[in-house]
């Protein structure tokens, strides 16, 4: 019989009692989203790995302050993203992040014809180029909310800004993307 995956709250309760295996399981669950959030902020896989690892260590030491029953994702993302921002600040380096499509991206799987697939591929490339061209502030909020599919609360926690600011920044960034898309369409 297959066991039911343990609830986050159970894992946190065990981890708070000093069960390191439970905490490892928590990290396992959230390491991908935490690492990718740190990657968006640091623009470096190596820095993101260090930030995520140190962030999870800080979270471990702060486990006593985690409120039982609360959603751990915003809490963990806030700690890891803080660590990532501190690294960017202390290194003084700022890389431009160029997100790109996966090599195995095949729009043909969903497109009705090879022509439609080519158009879909071009559309995605064009949209990605427009996102990459946004200001860092706008790019971060768009990437966190849509690419990582974080909730507004999680995006706010990751970016260290109020949820209201997330909404206004998103609205502004989407408006800029629409304007850029319209300009491209009229040039074509």
């Amino acid at each position: 019989m297959e066991g039911r995956p343990e609830e986050d709250s159970e894992l946190f309760a065990r981890a708070q009692r000093g069960d390191t295996a439970a905490y490892e399981e928590i990290v396992q669950r959230y390491q991908q989203v935490a690492f990718r959030t740190a990657y968006l902020i640091t623009s470096s896989a190596a820095e993101a790995e260090d930030a995520a690892q140190d962030g999870f260590m800080k979270a471990y030491r702060a486990l006593a302050r985690f409120r039982a029953g609360a959603d751990p994702r915003p809490w963990l993302l806030r700690i890891v993203a803080n660590e990532a921002r501190n690294r960017v600040r202390s290194s003084g380096r700022r890389h431009g992040l160029e997100l790109r499509l996966a090599d195995d991206f095949r729009p043909g799987d969903a497109a009705p014809s090879p022509e439609a697939a080519a158009v879909a591929s071009e559309d995605r490339q064009r949209l990605l180029a427009l996102v990459n061209a946004l200001s860092e502030e706008d790019r971060l909020v768009v990437s966190s909310r849509y690419f990582l599919e974080l909730s507004s609360e999680e995006t706010a926690a990751a970016l260290g800004i109020p949820e209201g600011t997330v909404k206004s920044r998103l609205s502004r960034a989407l408006a800029r993307l629409r304007t850029s898309m319209d300009e491209e369409a009229s040039r074509a």
Binding site: G18, V27, F35, A52, Q53, M57, R65, R124, S143, E149
Partner: protein, 260 residues
């Protein structure tokens, strides 16, 4: 969800993210004690240091025949000669803030203390966040500083003496040696070896009043127990942790096990 937002979500699922490293494994290895891995060579052991100190003292005695107190002054090993037959009575508490009354150093916060010391301060998850945090840096405190976590009241733990404190956890970088602090124990105080998460420690029951450890610079530090209650002393991977309070051995070990 409007079309553009749907497009962005679809685009996000097609991105080339760097592969996620094995962070969970790395974190687990950082939080799990590995006894013995960083064992120092024999000549750096505390036994060797103690033996060297004793040889110096004996040599000086043979050469000059001064008083043993004078030798102790030269080599700073008072502890090797001191035996306690009558326990000192804790002096009445002076007025003022707790940190001053107990000589804990300057009051700070967990974040403040973490910024001011170079080592990891361990927090017992079973007790939660401390009510107060104190930091004593050198020269008053041991090399690399000493952090004290104060827990005023916790369910099931009686408050100790006049202090209004249930549990005190004191942490400093260094090591412990029963040959040293064992000699500081008076009649009616028992010393028992314990192991907590693979780390070596001692359960001192009765009314211990004095404590000796070797700090990060190799200096022998001689301190007074703050609460004069049962005490668990643990060498937790190079951090000497003292858990003081009116605790049973099981409760003290439970607290120490939850340190992280």
């Amino acid at each position: 969800m409007p079309e553009l937002e749907q497009e962005l979500v679809a685009l996000g699922r097609e991105l080339a993210w760097p592969s996620t490293p094995a962070i969970a494994t790395a974190v687990r290895s950082r939080i799990t004690p590995r006894p013995g891995v960083l064992r120092a060579p024999w000549y750096q052991s505390r036994w060797a240091l103690a033996a060297a100190a004793l040889i110096i003292a004996v040599t000086a005695l043979l050469a000059y025949n001064p008083t043993r107190e004078a030798i102790a002054d030269w080599v700073n090993v008072h502890v090797l000669f001191q035996r306690v037959n009558v326990l000192p009575t804790p002096s009445p508490q002076p007025p003022g803030p707790l940190g001053k009354r107990l000589g804990l150093g300057a009051q700070t916060t967990l974040a403040g203390a973490a910024n001011d010391v170079t080592w990891h301060i361990e927090i017992p998850t079973s007790l939660g966040s401390p009510d107060e945090v104190y930091l004593e840096l050198p020269p008053g405190g041991p090399a690399l500083g000493e952090v004290t976590l104060v827990y005023s009241t916790r369910p099931g733990i009686p408050v100790a003496g006049e202090t209004g404190v249930a549990v005190l956890i004191t942490e400093a970088r260094g090591g412990i040696n029963d040959q040293f602090f064992g000699k500081m124990l008076g009649p009616g105080t028992n010393l028992e070896e314990v192991t907590v998460r693979g780390h070596h420690g001692y359960w001192v029951s009765g009314s211990p009043h004095q404590f000796v450890f070797i700090d990060a610079s190799g200096t022998i530090k001689y301190e007074t127990m703050r609460l004069a209650t049962n005490t668990l002393i643990l060498d937790d991977g190079g951090t000497v942790v003292r858990v003081e309070g009116n605790l049973t051995k099981a409760r003290a070990i439970e607290i120490a096990t939850s340190l992280g």
